[in-house]
């Protein structure tokens, strides 16, 4: 069980301007990450998972309306750093990311070997030779044949490209790797291979992973902890074992009930209605309109309740 804290995120907000109004993509997220942690952030499409990842790594688009909160890493506030300092000291030094659609994240005019060694050249000031040497080791580790280093991205299969993207995220050995839907475009067998690889790497390098996905079944492979995201907020954080056997939040329960199981004859459920638009959300529990346990208190913002080490944001668990 992870103990000490690698990162503490407090009231993180990322709002975008749009023609229709302000999009509250990430709206007051609190989350703690531990050393050698593997947390899965689960949620439907459009609930702000990717925006959350971008907010941590400060990869912001131009139309940012608000970007506030605290991100403490090993006790240092990352939000206070200038953009240039953040680029130099944080990105790929302290944390890296395997971007969504990692298959397209490779430069088509660079050989993948050069591509993987790029972060080392940029950050460690390594020469091309030493960087290529490290890249070669990383290729072996992620299971890409070393002679692929001289190939271009389009000459690799999807699974291989994904492994290259992972190699690129690992090459500087950061403490935290954010994996944004790393397997979304791959077949099930390749997905399983990649997750096995990630598990092994996490042990070898003693890293923390934040895995962002909507695929509950495969993410359970890697997850040590689970955070459920709904409408820009985190509604439940729990250790994986207890979460998968008994989720607390009504939304989590519905979500779990929608996943087919190998054993048992349970009928699949669905959640009625749609997730709320992230533009102009008012007071109250955001899941309330779709919740079957709804009662009067749900019109006010629910508190975060600690229940035997599990955090849940729901009035049902409030005492009194």
């Amino acid at each position: 069980m992870p103990v000490s804290k690698l990162m503490r995120i407090q009231d993180l907000k990322l709002h975008f301007r749009s023609a229709a109004g302000v999009v509250q993509a990430v709206d007051g997220v609190d989350l703690d990450l531990f050393y050698n942690d593997a947390i899965v952030i689960l949620g439907e499409s459009g609930c702000g998972k990717t925006s959350f990842a971008r907010a941590i790594l400060r990869l912001l688009p131009r139309n940012v309306e608000a970007y506030t909160g605290k991100v403490l890493m090993n006790g240092n506030d990352l939000m206070g750093l200038s953009d240039e300092a953040f680029r130099r000291e944080v990105r790929w030094v302290k944390m890296s990311m395997v971007p969504q659609a990692a298959m397209n994240a490779l430069n088509p005019v660079l050989r993948v070997g050069d591509q993987v060694s790029e972060p080392l050249i940029v950050h460690a000031g390594a020469s091309r030779e030493t960087a290529l040497k490290s890249a070669r080791e990383m290729f072996q580790r992620v299971g890409v044949p070393v002679d692929f280093m001289n190939r271009y991205a389009f000459e690799l299969s999807g699974g291989m490209r994904q492994r290259v993207a992972i190699a690129m995220a690992l090459v500087t050995v950061p403490e935290l790797v954010i994996l944004d839907e790393p397997t979304s475009a791959l077949d099930v067998l390749t997905q399983a291979n990649i997750f096995n690889l990630l598990k092994r790497i996490k042990q070898d390098f003693d890293m923390s992973f934040v895995l962002i996905t909507h695929d509950i079944a495969t993410s359970s492979e890697l997850a040590e902890r689970v955070a459920i995201m709904y409408a820009g907020q985190i509604v439940e954080v729990s250790d994986a074992t207890r979460f998968f056997s008994a989720p607390l939040h009504p939304y989590s329960q519905k979500l779990m009930a929608s996943v087919p199981r190998l054993r048992g004859n349970q009928e699949l459920e669905f959640i009625p209605g749609n997730p709320p638009s992230l533009i102009g959300i008012g007071q109250g529990c955001r899941f309330a309109p779709r919740c079957e346990f709804r009662f009067e208190k749900c019109d006010q913002d629910p508190p975060v309740i600690n229940r035997e080490g599990r955090l849940v944001k729901c009035w049902l668990y409030a005492e009194g």
Partner: protein
């Protein structure tokens, strides 16, 4: 390396590319030859040399190979020097010592004349040494049919040029015919027609001092000259035709390279940073697009400096902010949003790194055909400026030849070679680069192939 080889093989499949490459290679070979055989200083010296350098050439003479295309054989220029007697069979020189320090010098020039037209001119260039008393020469002309004509008798100063066509006494002696015609004319013909055969010019000189010597060069000015002909200043056009190649190529390539590379970098910078940087670049472009390009160049040439490097710099400067910046920007805007650009930003690549390693390499396939096609445009620009009289005054360029020809009414007077030679070289340059450029375009932009 393999990709290069692949592209190369693909390019070779287009006949136009092969023909174009051969043309370009030819021009490059000519340039190298010119630069090796005529060093820069020498070229300038030759081109601006005037009479001292070019005294032995006929004026306005078409190239010698014109004889292949006409039924009339035009006389070819040559010169014979008495110094070369002994080495050259056509010249003999004999010195006979006489009494009281006198000596007699006999110089004979023998040459075949088998042409259908009279030569332009003949001249004797004397070079004598003496202290006080000038040597005296009498000149005789021996025709193939055995007649001997007295050309003239006169004292010779140290350096003296005797032009036969200007000898009015000789004209009278020849019955009023211009001397050149008179000397070569067939005595039995009604109208002056050259009589073919071996002619001789004999100099019979007397010197009156011990160290007094007579040397003379016989210059026969034909109607045709060399491979390229001559201009109004008797200059061999070959010098300018040869030397124009490296100048044209250097100007074209530097201008095309400078313009397209700078345009690309600036467009990429603007597109990547966006905001006021992009705004500024776009506004500069829009202003520059309405500025009269040629008029500014003419102004710079007239008021500031006509050196080819100044003109090159101004050309590049004015050509950076053109429509190309807009079209490059449009593509960069699209590339900029690619996942891999964001990935690069994520792993902490600096803006410069993203621009030069991620954005610009994507555009190289578009850059290369454009660059190749832009070369002739700049070669033509340089020629056009020269034709307008704004060419570099010291350099022998193709445009300068056309300018000279135009000022001397070459076409009006029928000296077509004078304009056609540089024009054909310009056309070859344009054609070669255009053919290669269009083929490259097809190789690098496969979508065009269906068109």
């Amino acid at each position: 390396m393999n990709t290069l080889k692949k592209y190369f093989r693909e390019i070779l499949q287009y006949p136009s590319a092969v023909v174009g490459s051969v043309m370009i290679l030819l021009l490059v070979a000519v340039s190298v030859y010119a630069l090796v055989t005529i060093p820069y200083e020498k070229a300038l010296q030759l081109w601006r040399g005037g009479e001292d350098v070019w005294y032995a050439n006929p004026q306005y003479a078409p190239p010698a190979w014109m004889n292949f295309f006409s039924d009339k054989d035009l006389p070819v220029s040559f010169k014979l020097h008495s110094r070369d007697a002994g080495e050259n069979q056509s010249v003999t020189k004999e010195v006979v010592l006489g009494e009281q320090n006198t000596s007699r010098t006999f110089i004979t020039y023998t040459f075949d004349f088998n042409y259908d037209e009279f030569p332009q001119e003949m001249a004797l260039l004397f070079n004598t040494t003496y202290e006080v008393k000038q040597p005296f020469v009498s000149i005789l002309w021996a025709t193939p049919d055995g007649r001997e004509i007295r050309v003239g008798d006169f004292g010779v100063s140290k350096k003296m040029t005797y032009r036969i066509s200007q000898d009015t006494k000789l004209q009278r002696r020849l019955g009023g015919l211009p001397p050149i015609q008179g000397l070569f004319a067939d005595p039995n013909a009604q109208t002056p027609v050259p009589f073919k055969g071996t002619y001789q010019l004999l100099i019979n000189g007397v010197s009156f001092e011990q160290d007094s010597h007579i040397e003379a060069e016989f210059v026969f000015y034909g109607q045709v000259y060399g491979l390229a002909g001559t201009d109004h200043l008797r200059r061999d056009l070959m010098v300018a035709l040869l030397y124009g190649a490296p100048i044209a190529l250097a100007f074209g390539l530097l201008a095309a390279l400078g313009t397209s590379v700078l345009t690309m970098i600036i467009a990429a910078t603007g597109a990547y940073y966006g905001g006021w940087v992009d705004e500024l670049i776009q506004r500069i472009t829009e202003v520059n697009l309405v500025l009269p390009f040629l008029a500014i160049l003419i102004m710079v040439g007239t008021f500031y400096d006509r050196s080819i490097w100044t003109i090159l710099g101004v050309t590049i400067l004015l050509s950076i902010f053109t429509g190309a910046i807009k079209s490059y920007r449009a593509i960069f805007m699209q590339v900029k949003e690619s996942a891999y650009i964001e990935a690069a930003r994520a792993y902490g690549a600096s803006s410069g790194r993203v621009i030069f390693r991620y954005l610009i390499p994507r555009m190289i396939p578009l850059l290369i055909p454009g660059l190749v096609s832009a070369v002739p445009a700049f070669v033509f620009l340089e020629a056009s400026l020269a034709v307008l009289g704004l060419g570099d005054p010291s350099l022998p360029t193709w445009g300068k030849i056309i300018n000279d020809a135009w000022l001397n009414a070459a076409l009006y007077k029928g000296y077509y070679y004078w304009i056609l030679e540089p024009a054909i070289l310009l056309m070859i340059t344009g054609l070669g680069f255009a053919m290669v450029g269009y083929s490259l375009d097809r190789v690098f932009n496969p979508r065009l192939r269906g068109l």
